[in-house]
């Protein structure tokens, strides 16, 4: 168990170090996210009144779009430079690679969110710094990345890979997106916790089911 965890840590560490040297993935996600918010600002006429109910939707759309870019890139790099084969040759259980990559992707997505949220809060005076809201951001990102990492590993081996990831990923992660939007909206509008609870439960259930399912089938995705 201990060596399993340290192997996962090694995969995550490798991703973080590689990213730290170039910072190209994170900066691309970040700039893209800011652009999406900018576009929403004009497309939806986001003034102080309108954004009350729209904020959650705008934020999550931004997160999942930026997340898709990050996911695609994180796995495409492995494939293009032949690193995936190297990883697969490592004498560890294949699920280590899945968890390592997934946690790495989660960290990137959370980093983008950590920077976008204060910016958004600054621009629109939205009270995003509440424990509940941040918990939703975490749970939603986990579900999204759990499925996203699996599908991205699949998509990089496919001919039409650049266009395929969002097409495969969005319909599957719809429950996460709906539940995340509704529960973050609930926290932003100060709705009592009892009414938000079903959405939180749904998020947790989705995260559990799909992390386990992805863990179970990951071997088949990287099999040669």
């Amino acid at each position: 168990m201990k060596s399993y965890l340290s192997a996962i840590r090694a995969v995550i560490w490798k991703d973080l170090t590689a990213e730290w040297r170039t910072r190209e993935n994170l900066s691309a996600m970040m700039v893209f996210a800011l652009l999406v918010i900018l576009i929403f600002n004009f497309a939806l006429d986001l003034d102080i009144q309108a954004q009350e109910s729209l904020s959650a939707g705008v934020l999550w759309t931004t997160f999942i779009f930026a997340g898709t870019i990050g996911l695609n890139r994180s796995l495409a790099v492995e494939k293009d430079r032949g690193c995936l084969d190297g990883l697969l040759l490592a004498p560890v259980d294949r699920s280590v690679i899945y968890f390592g990559k997934a946690i790495g992707n989660l960290i990137f997505m959370l980093l983008v969110e950590i920077i976008i949220l204060p910016v958004y809060s600054f621009l629109y005076q939205v009270p995003v710094f509440q424990t509940g809201f941040l918990l939703v951001v975490l749970l939603g990102s986990i579900g999204y990345v759990a499925v996203g990492t699996l599908l991205a590993t699949m998509v990089i081996q496919v001919r039409t890979r650049d266009i395929l990831l969002p097409i495969l990923l969005f319909p599957l992660t719809l429950p996460v997106i709906i539940a995340a939007v509704k529960s973050s909206q609930g926290f932003l509008l100060m709705i009592p916790l009892a009414e938000i609870a079903p959405w939180l439960n749904l998020l947790i259930v989705y995260d559990l089911i799909f992390t386990v399912a992805a863990f179970m089938v990951f071997d088949f995705v990287v099999e040669e």
């Binding site: 499925v147 039409t160 097409i167 509704k182 749904l202 099999e223």
Partner: protein
């Protein structure tokens, strides 16, 4: 190529006959519903096609699990065939539902849980076909689409629940008190007979189509092998 099995020919005839009888029952046997009138007759085929749609997706997910276990290409062909057939049936169900909804709900479409889920299901399985198209290696294509079919099947109930938490006006015909206000109704015996017969007819029809589709898939694989052999001989 093996000859067309006798049982398949019998199934062809049976499914054609059952569909005909179902049409007959719908138009001449089932009574006209009091509240909503003639348009209610759409319901028999609407539910039957939607049921076949769901059945196909269940078959695809099951075939996916079996394929990952056994690695037999027949299961891949089965899954692929089931998704193709169900995509069409589900689309038919949506269109039939629209025809019913126009006079009853006064709109062709509404963002209601069942309708929204149906739309998402169509998109998931359209994505399934796009995924298949993108992979050239048959073995890898089979693995990937098996996984996607399983994941799609898991996510659909969660999508349904999540939208259900949001809103609903779709009538629950069987066992619901407030259904009448949304265009629902109680079925009497001739209606029930028509309803269950339509379900059975479409299920048989589905089995028949799927069988044909599996034979077609195997035939296609054979042609592929013949072609490769011919190429290698030519060189």
């Amino acid at each position: 190529m093996t000859k067309k099995p006798r049982l398949l020919s019998i199934l062809d005839g049976l499914s054609g006959l059952m569909i005909l009888v179902a049409v007959g029952l719908v138009f001449f046997y089932a009574p006209v519903e009091v509240m909503t009138g003639q348009v209610q007759k759409v319901f028999y085929f609407h539910v039957a096609t939607a049921w076949v749609g769901m059945l196909g997706f269940l078959v695809a997910a099951t075939a996916g699990v079996v394929y990952l276990h056994k690695g037999d290409p027949t299961w891949d062909i089965t899954g692929h065939g089931a998704v193709e057939i169900s995509l069409i049936f589900f689309l038919t169900a949506i269109i039939l539902g629209s025809i019913w909804a126009r006079p009853i709900w006064n709109t062709w479409w509404t963002w209601e849980p069942r309708l929204t889920t149906a739309a998402i299901v169509e998109l998931i399985y359209a994505a399934y076909l796009l995924l298949r198209q993108g992979v050239d290696d048959p073995e890898r294509r089979a693995r990937f689409s098996a996984i996607y079919a399983i994941f799609g099947f898991f996510s659909v109930p969660l999508t349904f629940i999540s939208i259900r938490l949001l809103r609903t006006i779709h009538p629950v015909v069987i066992g619901s008190a407030e259904a009448a206000s949304q265009g629902g109704f109680n079925m009497d015996s001739p209606m029930k007979i028509t309803f269950f017969f339509s379900l059975a007819a479409f299920s048989v029809f589905f089995a028949d189509l799927l069988w044909h589709r599996i034979r077609l898939g195997k035939l296609r694989a054979e042609v592929e092998i013949l072609r490769i052999n011919a190429y290698s001989k030519g060189e």
